[in-house]
Amino acid sequence: MSLLDELSARQIASGVQAGEFSAEEVCRASLDAIASRDAELHACLQVLEELALAKARELDRDRAAGRALPPLAGVPLAVKDNMNLIGSRTTCGSRMLEDYESPYTATCVQRMLDAGCLPIAKTNMDEFAFGSSTETSHFGKTANPWDAERVPGGSSGGSAAAVAAGEVTLALGSDTGGSIRQPAAFCGVVGLKPTYGAVSRYGVVAFGSSLDQVGPFGRRVEDVALAMNALLGEGHDPMDATSQDCPVDFLEHLEDPVEGLRVGIIADFIDAEGLSGEVRSAVLGAAEALADQGAELVDVSLPNVADSISAYYVIGPCEAFSNLARFDGVRYGYQEPGCATLAEQSAKSRAHGFGAEAKRRQMLGAYLLSSGVYERYYHKAQKARTLITKSYERAFEEVDVLLLPSSPRTAFKFGEISDPTQMYLSDMFTISSNIAGNGSVSVPLGLGEDSGLPVAVQLQGPAFKDRRLLTFARAVERGFEAEGRVAPAFAGKGGEL
């Protein structure tokens, strides 16, 4: 007898292939873990028992018929609830889409299923991904598995928490300004935002179309690498014109040494106002771990990156306003009953279907795109984006990777940050790589010396060098004792295999 939450994705898939346990047994163990843990956690909005069992039985039939199983056969997967999956609702954490049935399956989800994953659950999120704490979900908050009085981060908080609590082995999230990396940091798991264009966005409800990117969560870098093989393996997705043909084997160089490689340290980030002492010292510890393995630490600067937050809060709301204009209550979504005109129905459906933060972002975007304002903000923000991208390009002429914090602090308490513009600063270290589009990963470093909560480091790489990024992530992982760790309050609760 073993516990599901102690197994890596590779161990689960090889165990199913070898007949040590069936995919159905793995599926039932994951469902059992959710039954035992999620009442306290509320990471899951829907548990997809029938879909997951059907997929597990299909894998077991294939094995019985002597067919080779795919590389993630039987691995329990949770999916952020902004990704369509036939047979499930896709709510985006919003009243607006409370009853929305997925009419098709997102490419990223389909590719994980094709690789053998079991679709166990859809996870909680900030409404339409607007937030950094999962507190703006219409369906209630998700607890941080390390401290139930604290947020799991956001917007992909449910996905990060489900992995950290051992309910599932892998999860998908989306990252528009830090929505994979910040919750990964708060929950003590690995979270990768691949380079923009690496993973298809088809079937993922859009927030900021030039910023959004789908990526995996796992408790090990290797699990995340396996997920990336599944997400990129088939190359370009014809359903997403921005998806690039860049399949590589993420396992091939995962254990490569980092000796002689150059790691950039940005003094402005390490000494940033608002960065907590324990996060700073953990990040410097990660740099030391890489130096101990032979990497060279190099001071670099990223001029103009300080403008990322203001550029993001122009570009993001503008794109969100444009994308969310489709929710008018006619074709799908909440519809206000008893309206006399289409205009009234639209205004009331949007007023009562969207929560406060979704309205704020759209209002800001509507203003910034209005005549006479557009030129002063939106157009200039896109020019700032040019400068930020060039800053990165120059930095990556000098170094192979940049090392910086994922979040300025560890997880905060529910309600602790009530001012929305203060909440926006949660993403101060993550936003710039959404603006420039390059890949970034958050790697757990164990627990902070003051708070006892998970702390993390962020690694950022050049565009489309995400495999190299995971080589560095693995090197950091080797130096700390966070690999595979499930939050102790949940470890071993149900999920026997």
Partner: protein, 101 residues
């Protein structure tokens, strides 16, 4: 220039988001704080800089052949609508007068 409640009401009308008076007051405070946060963009000296509208601007969109193929089935497209008739979505009167048109 600070945004007044009337400015914010006009933006809400444009965005098709009905706000009650209390929401309007709170939204006006928020809008002014958020716009103030964006001041660094106003202050940027970027006249000679070309804008980047897309993060993979140096790459090209990957286009597929312009060939007919199966799309979303009609039943699936209508599945999530509150009111339909035949192949169409039903909506209330566009010009007024009440009822579904």
């Amino acid at each position: 220039m600070a945004l007044s409640q009337e400015d914010v009401r006009a933006i809400a009308d444009y965005a098709r988001i009905g706000l009650d008076e209390e929401e309007l007051r709170a939204m006006t405070v928020y809008m002014n704080e958020a716009v103030a946060m964006l001041q660094p963009i106003i202050d940027l000296e970027v006249e000679e800089v070309e804008p980047t509208f897309h993060p993979i601007g140096s790459l090209v969109n990957v286009m597929r052949a312009d060939e007919p193929r199966e799309g979303l089935r009609l039943d699936d497209a209508l599945e999530n609508a509150h009111a339909t008739e035949g192949r169409s979505f039903r909506v209330p009167s566009i010009l007024g007068g009440g009822g579904l048109s």
